[in-house]
């Protein structure tokens, strides 16, 4: 059900863009104003999210330790999985963000016929997620060429690397293939694995559709219904320099692509996609396990005291005396 709803919503967005530019002639709305609004919502929304999280303090240092603690000199300390310093925690975080280290641990439990639980390595999710995120990043960076004149050399190199295999004309980018394959895998596992399907929400399918739509329309623009990239660049440079111009003949596919990107940006801060920012604030990962070495301060530490010794002694005075346990007040 949630799958159907998100699919309907997705195609609704596609139709909206198509009708808007081909039927209603709202090119300036879809080419200029919606993109500005979407970027505004994205930036403002993400900032609001991060500020919202940051406004709540971290009262306790609740690091999840995944390796040997730093204790005695003769015991080898796991610096990355159980960092003892801020630097160690930063390195752990970097591996988490750049290489999805925790996901790399993933296993699959299986109960055999003779009732033994066995655990197999399960790296597909890790590989699929990593492939998607890195391909997405490279594609994003590649798009910078539309916004700058001259195109920085770095972008050129990246493009060259991405098209390294020199297959097809125009050259097929490896990331285009990877992102579509990875997204198809991420969607496929949600649909085919009964367990995953059981707890997946519309909010899990919808961003996948959006991303598939963005990547798919982008691929169409490059390889099939080719768009005039000089005009696209004209629009992009205009938008980026806050003096927007609307070139003629960008084509409906381009507007669909752009509108889906806008939808993704505007949806981002209100969705699970905020994990991009949130992961940096996760207290089980971004804190060093230095609890016993350095005191962690809780800003709202309540003034609670327990049952004091004096009260306790008073209550058990006779019994303490009879047992010969020393008293503070005889």
């Amino acid at each position: 059900m949630s799958f159907i709803w998100s699919l309907v919503l997705f195609w609704g967005l596609v139709a909206l863009a198509l009708l808007g530019v081909t039927g209603a002639g709202l090119e300036s709305l879809f080419g200029i104003w919606i993109p500005y609004a979407a970027v505004g919502i994205f930036i403002g929304g993400v900032i609001a999210r991060v500020v919202g999280w940051a406004r709540s303090p971290v009262p306790f240092r609740i690091t999840t330790t995944c390796g040997q603690q730093k204790s005695l000199p003769f015991i080898r300390h796991a610096r990355l999985d159980n960092p003892a310093s801020g630097l160690g925690a930063a390195m752990r975080m970097a591996l988490e963000v750049l290489a999805f280290r925790s996901l790399f641990r993933n296993t699959k439990a299986h109960l055999t016929e003779d009732k033994r639980l066995v655990y197999g390595s399960e790296k597909y999710l890790w590989a699929g997620a990593l492939a998607f995120h890195w391909a997405f990043l490279v594609i994003l960076v590649r798009h910078y060429r539309f916004f700058s004149e001259p195109v920085p050399a770095v972008i050129g190199w990246l493009q060259g690397l991405d098209g390294f295999f020199e297959v097809g004309l125009p050259v097929i980018y490896a990331t285009d293939v990877v992102i579509l394959a990875a997204l198809a895998y991420l969607l496929g596992r949600r649909l085919l694995d009964a367990r995953l399907r059981y707890f997946s929400l519309a909010a899990d399918y919808f961003p996948l559709f959006l991303l598939l739509g963005v990547a798919g329309s982008g691929v169409l623009l490059r390889y099939v219904w080719k768009t005039d990239i000089t005009r696209v660049k004209e629009l992009a440079v205009g938008l980026a320099s806050f003096s927007p111009v609307l070139p003629e003949g960008l084509g409906a596919t381009f507007y669909v692509h752009l509108f889906l990107v806008c939808a993704l940006l505007a949806y981002f801060p209100f969705s699970k996609l905020t994990h991009m920012a949130g992961v940096f604030l996760s207290p089980t990962r971004n804190l060093a396990n230095s609890n016993r070495a350095r005191r962690h301060i809780n800003p709202w530490n309540p003034p609670v005291i327990g049952h004091t010794y004096a009260e306790w002694e008073e209550e058990f005075r006779d019994k303490l005396k009879a047992a010969g346990i020393p008293l503070d007040r005889e």
Binding site: S56, R116, A202, F316, G324
Partner: protein
């Protein structure tokens, strides 16, 4: 014991049901054996907890205050503003499913709401409905769910079917910690008087007498003397610990089960025999007579309240530092909460072993050292004489307890000790030890008899790994550093792997330790004959 056989329990169906998880209904009558009895009103009253009353989960009316919904929402707002963890964990889960088959309760029951992702969604759905823009507008389409009485009942069932073991948080790409979510949910439930007696009775006891079991000071002393009698019988050595002695160098704090019940008592004998041999200047306290802290399973305020006595007593007695015994969740509290809540411990000194001179700089602020760190250091410096052959009747494996594993990373110290004090040591499979260790399924207040089916199911992944080393290497002893483990694993292996016994690490230290003036030992601390020395035991 549960009436179900092992074969019956193992008919685990991992196929999710046809109905949506958003339906909260639970038939408590049909699920007897998988929930714990509610907190008795006298205990709630003693602690000043809200809404003390007689009630049962099987009742239609749980007798909540009329404004229960408001209380829960207000509580959520409060917790969201106090804990970044809660806020972030409510917002960023992508439901990738990496955690799904990491929970022992899920693996043992197949109940989809035991998947950590869904356990969190039970709370998250309510959060979305009432605390997020998308949820307010789109409702269930955005994964939002109305907070109803049925939802509260469902929370009770599932948040008291999580042992806060944190195994899922190891695998989560964002480090989402279900223990933290469960702690928040339990804190909310407590606001309207929903809790379990196995958590609130120890709390009330601990607040009053100083320990969870409600042992009063004279009985504390008697128990210890009795244990020292037993120890003398085995070793021929009289050990005389001091209680509430001012001016001792070290305050030694243990979980109360260690001086109360089998098999923890043998570990207790091991500690004290070691200290005796070292001539350590330490004292026990009948007031700070509990290291464990069931507040961790109830609310942050309760953690602080119960933990208060440890620093308070250390200060009163004028000790230099604190040594802590073998206990799992006690060590999560001592390590991650105590200093923040009840510190700074500036009246103590940075711990230094009086025997080896080692400065425990990793405990420079809390000034509290784990007994395994202390003993591993002793062994490393050759300060104790050990005869590991006295443990030859044991083929040993080590169970990493959840909290020392995933809140401290105390992996090598106990292993170093075990390998020094016994000669047959075997690890369980790698996906079931260290940071991936499986819970005993009886922690977080769930180790009671009425909850037995859930415990046996949840304990199956642990027990299954024990069966493996039993069958492969003939392992007959599972050693661990947690008092709850010693109590609950014993029940667990009795059911799943009856040939295996459970012990603490320092019980085996006590067996192997060569003590000045001891007699020729023919039995271990349990009074069982030592391997190859049975003939000497003929008179027993």
């Amino acid at each position: 014991m549960t009436e179900k056989t092992r074969e019956e329990l193992l008919q685990i169906d991992f196929t999710p049901p046809a109905t949506s998880w958003m339906d909260p209904h639970i038939d408590f009558e049909a699920r007897r054996g998988s929930w714990s009895y509610p907190g008795a009103p006298k205990n709630l009253r003693y602690m000043g907890f809200p809404n003390p009353r007689e009630w049962s989960p099987t009742d239609a009316d749980w007798k909540l205050p009329p404004n229960w919904k408001e209380i829960i929402f207000e509580g959520m707002r409060d917790l969201l503003s106090k804990f970044r963890s809660f806020k972030v964990f409510m917002d960023i889960c992508v439901r990738c499913g990496a955690c799904a088959d990491k929970c022992h309760f899920y693996l043992g029951s197949g109940d989809p709401k035991n998947m950590p992702v869904l356990r969190a969604e039970l709370l998250r759905s309510v959060y979305r409905k009432d605390f997020t823009t998308a949820g307010k507008i789109l409702g269930s389409l955005a994964g939002g769910r109305e907070l109803t009485l049925e939802v509260i009942k469902e929370w009770f069932y599932y948040f008291y079917q999580c042992t806060e073991c944190r195994r899922c948080s190891v695998f989560c790409p964002y480090g989402i910690d279900t223990a933290e979510i469960t702690m928040m949910a339990r804190e909310l439930l407590n606001l309207v008087g929903i809790n379990i007696n196995w958590a609130v009775e120890p709390i009330a006891n601990c607040h009053r007498t100083g320990n969870h079991l409600g042992i009063q000071p004279h009985t504390f002393k008697d128990n210890i003397e009795f244990l020292m009698d037993e120890l003398e019988e085995v070793t021929g050595v009289r050990v005389e610990p001091s209680i509430n002695r001012k001016g001792a160098e070290i305050l030694f704090v243990v979980p109360s089960a260690d001086y109360f019940a089998d098999p923890g008592i043998y570990t207790f004998m091991g500690y004290l025999l070691l200290f005796h041999q070292l001539g350590l200047d330490y004292t026990l306290s009948a007031y700070a007579s509990e290291g464990g802290n069931f507040g961790l399973f109830t609310s942050h305020e309760t953690i602080k309240k119960l933990n208060y006595k440890i620093y308070h007593e250390a200060k009163r007695l004028g000790v230099k530092w604190i040594l802590g015994g073998e206990c799992g969740h006690m060590w999560r509290v001592l390590h991650q909460y105590m200093d923040t809540m009840n510190g700074p411990a500036d009246f103590l000194e940075v711990p230094k072993s009086p025997i080896t001179g080692t400065v425990f700089s990793h405990a420079a602020s809390t000034r509290t050292v784990h007994i395994c760190e202390f003993t591993a250091d002793l062994i490393r410096h050759g300060k104790v004489k050990l005869d590991p052959s006295r443990n030859d009747h044991w083929r040993v494996t080590f169970h990493d307890s959840c909290n020392p594993a995933r809140a401290l990373g105390l992996f090598e110290e106990p292993r170093y000790i075990l390998k020094s004090v016994c000669r047959s040591f075997y690890e369980m499979p790698e996906n079931t030890i260290r940071e991936q260790t499986f819970c005993c399924a009886g922690g977080a207040g769930l180790g009671n008899d009425e909850n037995m089916e859930a415990r046996l199911r949840g304990g199956f992944p642990r027990a299954n790994a024990v069966q493996y080393v039993r069958d492969r290497y003939g392992v007959n002893l599972m050693s661990c550093i947690c008092a709850i483990d010693r109590a609950t694993l014993t029940t667990l292996v009795e059911y799943w792997a009856p040939e295996v016994k459970v012990s603490g690490v320092h019980e085996l230290v006590g067996n192997a330790l060569v003590v000045d003036g001891e007699k020729d030992r023919t039995t271990d601390l349990r009074g069982q004959p030592l391997a190859g020395r049975e003939e000497g035991n003929a008179d027993v």
